[in-house]
C-alpha cells in the first residue's frame, strides 16, 4: 500500500462517515451542513476519478446550490421537522437487509469483469474532430447526445413551473419569496459588490473554455446563478416578479435557440440536431452562450422558490 492510497482510504472513510452523519444527525440544521461538506468531498472524489467536468458540476450544484436550497428549507422549518414515527424493528431489519444486499451486489458487480472494460472513449475520440469541439465531455453533451441535453433543459423548466405552481393563487405572477439567510448587513453588501464581477467573469470563462477544456454551460450557469442570488440576498437588486416579460424571455432564450438550431439541422445538415460542418463551432458557441444565461436564470429562480407576494417590499 502506497501512502497516497492510504490517504485515499482515509478520504473514503471520511465521506462515508459524513454520509452517515447526514442521515443520523439529530438537528436538521446539522444534517444539512454535513450534507454541504459531503457535496464538496464528492467533488474531490470526482477529481480523483479524473472527471474534472463532473467535479466542477458537483461542486457548484451538489455542494453549492443544493446546500443553499436546503439551508433555506431548514430556516423555514424552524428546526421543527418533527420526529415522525420511526418504523418498527421488522421494517428496519428488512430495509437494512435489502440495502446491504444491494450494496454488496453493486460492490462485486461493478468490478466483476476486469478483463473487458467496455468504453466509448475510442468512439468519442474518433469523432471528436468532426464535432468541432476539443473537450470530449462537451462533445458528448452538445453533439453526440445533444438530444438528452435539450430534453434536460425542458426538465429544468418544468421543475420551475412545478415550483411556481405551488404559489397561492392570489400571488401568481408575483415575487419569489427568496429566504434571506442573514440581515443584509454592510459586510454582506460588501461581498455582493466584490464577488459578482469576479464570479461573472469565472462563469463566462467556464462556458467559453468548456468547448476545449473542462467547464461548460451548466457549470458556468450555476456560477452565474450563485452570483445573482448573492446580489438578491444582499438586496442590491430586487427579486424579479415571475410575470415580467424579460424574465420569461431569459428563461427560454437558450432552449429556444437550441431547438431552432436543431430544427435548422433538418434543412442544412441532414438531421435534427446535426450541425453543418463549416458552422458547427459558432453554432454550438451561440447555443451554449444562451443556454448558460438561461440555466443561470432558471437555477436562480428555482432556489428563490415560488412567488409569495405581489409587490416589492
Amino acid at each position: 500500500m502506497t501512502p497516497p492510497f492510504i490517504l485515499e482510504i482515509a478520504f473514503v472513510i471520511l465521506i462515508l462517515a459524513i454520509a452517515v452523519g447526514t442521515l443520523v444527525a439529530r438537528a436538521a440544521f446539522t444534517a444539512v451542513l454535513l450534507f454541504m461538506i459531503y457535496g464538496l468531498l464528492i467533488a474531490i472524489a470526482w477529481i480523483r476519478l479524473s472527471a474534472v467536468d463532473v467535479a466542477l458540476t458537483e461542486a457548484a450544484i451538489g455542494g453549492g446550490l443544493t446546500g443553499m436550497l436546503l439551508l433555506g428549507a431548514v430556516a423555514r422549518l424552524r428546526e421543527s421537522e418533527g420526529s415522525g414515527e420511526e418504523p418498527g424493528l421488522p421494517t428496519l431489519l428488512a430495509a437494512g437487509t435489502f440495502c446491504v444486499l444491494v450494496s454488496a451486489a453493486l460492490g462485486t458487480l461493478v468490478l466483476s469483469r476486469p478483463e473487458v472494460a467496455p468504453s466509448l472513449a475510442p468512439a468519442v475520440m474518433d469523432n471528436l474532430a468532426q464535432s468541432a469541439l476539443g473537450n470530449p465531455v462537451a462533445a458528448v453533451l452538445f453533439v453526440f447526445r445533444a438530444f438528452d441535453t435539450l430534453l434536460e433543459k425542458v426538465v429544468l423548466l418544468l421543475a420551475l413551473i412545478g415550483v411556481w405552481s405551488l404559489a397561492p393563487d392570489r400571488v401568481w405572477g408575483g415575487v419569489p419569496g427568496l429566504r434571506l439567510y442573514a440581515e443584509p448587513s454592510s459586510i454582506l453588501v460588501f461581498l455582493a459588490q466584490l464577488l459578482p464581477p469576479i464570479g461573472i467573469m469565472i462563469g463566462i470563462y467556464m462556458f467559453w473554455t468548456g468547448a476545449s477544456y473542462p467547464g461548460g454551460a451548466f457549470q458556468g450557469g450555476t456560477v452565474l446563478a450563485a452570483m445573482w442570488l448573492l446580489v438578491m440576498i444582499a438586496r442590491l437588486q430586487p427579486v424579479p416578479a415571475i410575470s415580467l416579460r424579460c424574465v420569461r424571455l431569459l428563461l427560454v432564450v437558450g432552449p429556444v435557440i437550441f431547438v431552432a438550431i436543431g430544427l435548422l439541422g433538418f434543412v442544412f445538415a441532414g438531421a435534427f440536431l446535426a450541425y453543418p460542418p463549416d458552422y458547427a463551432k459558432p453554432l454550438i458557441v451561440i447555443a451554449e452562450a444562451t443556454l448558460t444565461l438561461s440555466i443561470g436564470v432558471t437555477l436562480g429562480l428555482l432556489v428563490a422558490g415560488p412567488p409569495d407576494r405581489m409587490q416589492q417590499p
Binding site: 442521515l23 415522525g84 446491504v100
Partner: protein, 112 residues
C-alpha cells in the same frame, strides 16, 4: 485493491446508505437528503465505470461523465421540487413528515 475499486466500494456503500435512509426515515427533509446521498452514490459508480473505461488517451470515458452531469442537474431539479412541496405542506399543516396510513383525502376535495 486499487483506488478504482476503493471508489467502487464507496459508491456501493453510499447507495446502500441512501436507500436505507430513503426507506426508513420518517422526516421528509431526511428523505430528500438520503435521496441525494443515493444519487451521488449512483453517479460515483458511473464515474468508476468511466474511469475503468479509460482509453484512447483519455483518463476516463467521457460518455458516462456527460450523463452524470445531466443526472446531477436533474437530481437538483428534483430536490428543489421536493423541498418546495415540503415547505408548502409545512406551511399548511405544520407537519414535515408523511406517515403512510392516514386516510386518503377526505371531505373538501371533489367539489369546488
Amino acid at each position: 485493491m486499487n483506488s478504482i475499486a476503493l471508489f467502487a466500494y464507496c459508491g456501493a456503500a453510499m447507495v446502500g446508505l441512501g436507500l436505507f435512509g430513503l426507506i426508513t426515515k420518517p422526516q421528509v427533509l431526511r428523505k430528500i437528503l438520503a435521496f441525494n446521498v443515493l444519487g451521488t452514490g449512483v453517479f460515483l459508480l458511473f464515474g468508476v465505470i468511466a474511469r475503468r473505461g479509460a482509453a484512447a488517451g483519455l483518463h476516463s470515458d467521457p460518455v458516462p461523465q456527460a450523463l452524470v452531469i445531466t443526472g446531477i442537474v436533474v437530481a437538483f431539479s428534483a430536490t428543489t421540487m421536493a423541498v418546495v412541496l415540503l415547505l408548502r405542506l409545512y406551511a399548511e399543516t405544520g407537519e414535515a413528515t408523511i406517515d403512510s396510513d392516514d386516510p386518503p383525502s377526505t371531505g373538501t376535495d371533489g367539489g369546488r
